[in-house]
Amino acid sequence: MLGRLRMGIDTAIDAYNSLTQQVFSDQKRWPGDGRFKATKLEEVIKSVVQDITGDPEELLLEVGDTSVCRM
């Protein structure tokens, strides 16, 4: 959130709180392979990425000037 998406600290904390609430308040009924829904986690992460970059499928690799922050 801070490094790649360059979110401000307060924005990142808000986004993290919202993310954990959405992901962890939704336990799987039959937790075979993990107690929480990976699909839910993916959905919430993608929505954060979309809010910041406009594209939920944005690549991790940054083009252009990466000297500001590499992660």
């Binding site: 490094g3 790649r4 998406l5 709180n17 954990t20 609430q21 962890f24 308040s25 937790p31 075979g32 392979d33 993990g34 107690r35 929480f36 990976a38 986690l41 993916e42 992460i45 993608k46 990425v49 970059t53 939920p56 499928e57 944005e58 690549l59 991790l60 690799l61 940054e62 990466t66 922050c69 590499r70 992660m71």
Partner: protein, 200 residues
Amino acid sequence: MNANIPVLFRSYQSQETHSGCKIWEAARATSALPTFFKHIEIGNKQPYIDGGLGCNNPSELLIKEAKVVFPNHQIGCLVSIGTGQAEVISIRTPGFFQQIVPTGVIDALKAISTDCEATHEKLSLLFKNSPNIYFRINVEQGIQGIKLSEWEKMANVEAHTMQYLKREEVGVKLSLVINTIKSPKAQLMIEQFGMKKFVM
């Protein structure tokens, strides 16, 4: 899925960059803590699990990477921020379904906190003769009992963190961190760090 060989997801070009990796895939892979979420497959069906299993304190890995990315540079400042975990994040009393997790995984998780502090000790030794370059910031007391999934306890985390930050010696340390970042005085070439001491 070998937890002993950490994979780095990079936002910059390097020989090992996963060129097609998306931001959400990297975020998902680094959250794939067993018993919490299923592992994820990226690229050529390579399964990934959270690095907390074998590499929860990546400081040594960072120095190794910095040597490759920034050869002939100096280290100005290294700040390591802990998550205040003195014990295993989630696996304390395994429920029925968690009992199907191999005990090897549970043992590995239990070793994480020791591993973090061991890395910190190693780095402290490494920087012993170069004061005010390496800093470790970690809320040592109060939030160790809070599980990763307990989102409703965020206010507790915040309160303990504020208490930690108010401590005299922590305030002094933070001022030093700020000064060092603003005007680094390091004279240590990155190559001077004897990586032979590191067991990777």
